[in-house]
């Protein structure tokens, strides 16, 4: 058994690739057979794929493949499947159930809140902010102060028809430009602004101005904002006696509001969003914490 091949380097040494780096040569060992077969199999697979599936761009189109697969159609099918799945999961129920029924059913409520949250981010966040806190001129929907009413039904109506939107049933309210149109004198505006600020407990208005302002308010503003300034959601007249001011509560801002009037616009979403989504939005906005 003396001619048994011994482990280690055979007399001539293993073949190398001929490359050498810092005295280190690379063995030119052949690959395992299974490895090579795998490589050829992947190459064959590529050819089979070219024939079976869309692969090569042509001048006006592309090679369609024998299986007739189309990624676009596959996606459309998936979208359709998602829609069916959503209906099966209660989206269809959302469309037919009343707001109270939605809020009473935990599963439906969860679905409405999730739908509403997504729809809010897509459609409402542009003006009201991603967290619904609004901005100057765009109402904060997190708080408990509502121009057009804070019940789920009132919120749904507002989303549906908008405000001054051109929709047939849209909310319409008109705060005149008392200064620009000459309805009140500059002094009257200063006085009534001071009075309005005092309504929400903001100090700094002299007693004499207050009396003058109260007089102007009773004659000019109380019709919409009420005797005590608590507002009227029927006309979108804001509550002036609370801590929240849509257009700012500095004397200058209040004077500007009275002088030039305010006509905030909110688009009507009926026809742009389906009824289930509008209901979901109403439930979501009501559930932000300030709903009535």
């Amino acid at each position: 058994m003396t001619d048994t091949p011994q482990a280690g380097t055979p007399p001539t040494g293993p073949e190398t690739t001929g490359h050498e780096w810092d005295g280190i040569a690379e063995y030119n060992n052949p690959l395992p057979r299974w490895w090579l077969i795998t490589l050829y199999a992947t190459i064959a697979w590529a050819f089979a794929y070219w024939i079976a599936y869309p692969a090569w761009p042509l001048l006006t189109g592309y090679t369609g493949g024998l299986l007739g697969y189309s990624q676009r159609e596959a996606v459309l099918g998936e979208v359709e499947a998602v829609r069916r799945d959503r209906d099966a999961r209660g989206q269809a129920q959302l469309a037919s159930a009343s707001l109270d029924a939605i809020r009473a059913d935990p599963a439906l409520l969860r679905l409405a809140l999730a739908t509403g949250k997504a729809a809010f981010g897509d459609n409402c966040a542009g003006c009201h902010g991603g967290s619904a806190t609004g901005a100057t001129g765009y109402p904060n929907l997190q708080d408990d102060d509502w121009l057009w009413g804070g019940t789920p039904e009132a919120i749904e109506r507002t989303i549906r028809t908008g405000a001054r939107s051109g929709h047939g049933e849209t909310h319409l309210g008109d705060m005149p430009a008392f200064g620009r149109d000459g309805l009140l004198t500059r002094a009257q505006i200063q006085a009534v602004a001071g009075y309005v600020l005092s309504l929400s407990g903001r100090p700094g208005t002299p007693a004499a101005t207050l009396d003058a302002g109260r007089e102007v308010f009773a004659g000019t503003c109380a019709g919409c904002h009420g005797e005590t300034g608590t507002g009227n959601p029927e006309m979108g007249a804001p509550n002036l006696a609370d801590a929240i001011s849509l257009y700012g509560a500095s004397p200058e801002q209040v004077v500007a509001t009275i002088s030039h009037g305010r006509k905030g616009v909110m688009p009507a979403w009926e026809g742009r969003l389906d009824p289930a989504t509008i209901k979901s939005l109403a439930v979501y906005v009501h559930g932000l914490g300030g709903g009535r």
């Binding site: 058994m1 091949p5 055979p10 052949p30 395992p32 090579l36 801590a243 929240i244 914490g289």
Partner: protein, 503 residues
């Protein structure tokens, strides 16, 4: 396809000389044959036909094979009473509900840190085993080794031992060869199928799933898993065998850095064996006062090796240290009336020291083994402590990121929080919520009351909590709040801290 001419003629040439006296012994021999087939794109694997051996290590391996396979196949059928509504399987990975059960332990997905700890522990145990006694894992309990051993036993039972198999490999196809080959592959496939079958039982109630599988009502994923595991077991244990260890497994490479000259390894004691000399010649040499080693160069160790290597070349990458060469050598040495142990567990340092005429120098306690031992004890102790003292009630609070606070029409400030209560007990519970830090504050729970937050059994529940601070409160921009839930029935509590934000 431009496949090169196979290397078969060059490699198979010695085979043709006589299968019983073949002189190719696996990888090393194949590599030696490479220059003759220069230019070929691949080297065909030389099939290894290990010879059956008897001895200490073989017995240990049979016992461990029975124990490990027994654990694998039978554990899913162990029962463990967890009360009504909870699964009664002792070990169960419930993917649908995201729970892992192991006897008295129930883990949730957020307890995945224990799995990480277990992996760290396993790594350190492997390191320790390697520093003490080499590739104990590879040689005795690695699934690849255990299943390959089982498949080889089947092969030996049906096709005979090494010589019979070599002869049959070289012989033309006959009905008998076809029958034996077919029977072997059939038994292999049954074992492989059973392997996959046992695997899926860890993921569902075992007796139920067995019934479903038998009546073809099991979920498709179960059949798919069984199919995949059947294929991998059949391929890896039946066909790829030592190639998995040599080419696919990273452990042989890592092992090199974990073992040292003082680690026990299956070694050829070359100080005793060299120079290799035939029995009669050795007697003559010794009579003449010349050195002669105990190794008679009989190749019993090589033909017994399931990895196809020659242990006498020293510690090497392909060696899984299963000890079968030691058994083979011991059998020969006993027959020759020489002491056993020419191949056995020893250390490189001892071999070297003996060759220089000194005694053994290796010791088990070395900085390396002590450090690994301490790490194993430390990680294990930490995990046990944290597992034993973990709470089955949990509370996490998330302050609304945006808006951080909401001024309300009456001048008060509202903060919104999302609470998640974790109830790891198998019963539904009601918790009372207390929020401290703002004495004037009012707490509201949307859709509930702070006194009774209902959480279902073995579940988590989310609550939206609103905290109102009145206008009169003098609020700093940030006021610390503490949230605490208490289960009045068991007095178990959990708490966490957050803040109340104001303008």
């Amino acid at each position: 396809m431009p496949l090169a001419e196979p290397t078969q003629p060059a490699v198979a040439a010695p085979m043709a000389a006589g299968p019983g006296r073949t002189k190719t012994f696996g990888l090393r021999a194949t590599r030696a044959a490479i220059p003759a087939v220069s230019g070929s794109l691949y080297a065909a694997r030389t099939k290894i036909h290990p010879e059956a051996v008897r001895g200490t290590f073989r017995t240990i391996k049979w016992v461990l094979l029975a124990v490990t396979l027994g654990i694998y196949y039978l554990v899913p059928f162990l029962r463990w009473d967890r009360g009504p509504g909870a699964p009664s399987q002792a070990v169960l990975l419930d993917l649908d509900r995201g729970r892992f059960y192991a006897f008295a332990i129930e883990l949730w997905p957020q307890d995945v840190t224990y799995v990480m700890g277990l992996l760290i522990l396993a790594a350190f145990v492997l390191f320790l085993m390697n520093a003490v006694a080499g590739r104990v894992w590879c040689g005795y309990v690695c699934p690849q080794t255990v299943w390959t051993d089982l498949f080889m036993a089947v092969e030996r039972l049906i096709e005979g031992d090494r010589r019979a198999r070599l002869k049959r490999d070289a012989a033309p196809w006959t009905a008998e060869k076809l029958a034996r080959r077919g029977a072997k592959h059939a038994v292999w496939l049954v074992i492989a199928w059973w392997t996959g079958g046992a695997w899926v039982l860890y993921f569902a109630d075992a007796p139920t799933l067995v019934g479903q599988l038998a009546t073809f009502r099991a979920p498709p994923v179960a059949y798919a898993a069984i199919l995949i595991l059947t294929a991998t077991t059949y391929t890896l244990a039946g066909h790829m065998r030592e190639q998995v260890c040599t080419y696919m497994c990273p452990w042989p490479r890592i092992q090199g850095s974990l073992t040292d000259a003082h680690s026990l390894n299956i070694l050829y004691r070359r100080d005793r064996g060299e120079p290799r000399t035939a029995v009669k010649k050795a007697a003559a040499l010794r009579a003449a006062g010349q050195p002669a080693g105990d190794c008679v160069d009989c190749f019993a160790c090589v033909t017994a090796c399931p990895a196809g290597i020659d242990i006498r070349d020293g510690l090497q990458l392909d060696c899984i240290q299963c000890g079968l060469c030691a058994d083979a050598c011991d059998t020969v040495m006993t027959r020759l009336g020489r002491p056993t142990g020419l191949i056995g567990y020893d250390t490189e340092a001892n071999c070297r020291s003996r060759a220089e005429g000194r005694g053994p120098v290796s010791r088990m306690l070395r900085p390396r083994t002590i450090l690994y031992g301490l790490l194993v004890a430390g990680v294990g102790g930490f995990m046990l402590t944290s597992l034993a003292t973990r709470s089955l009630t949990g509370l996490s609070v998330l302050h609304d990121r945006n808006p951080q606070f909401v001024p309300l029409s009456d001048g008060s400030i509202r903060n919104g929080f999302t609470l998640r209560i974790v109830n790891k007990r198998p019963v539904a519970r009601r918790f009372a919520l207390a929020v401290e830090g703002l004495p004037e504050a009012r707490v509201e729970v949307v859709g509930g009351t702070p006194e009774a937050l209902a959480v279902p059994a073995d579940a988590t529940q989310e609550f939206r909590v609103l905290v109102f601070a009145p206008r009169a409160a003098r609020l700093a921009p940030t006021t610390p709040l503490s949230f605490r839930i208490t289960d009045p029935a068991s007095d178990e509590t959990a708490g966490t801290r957050d803040h109340f934000k104001a303008p």
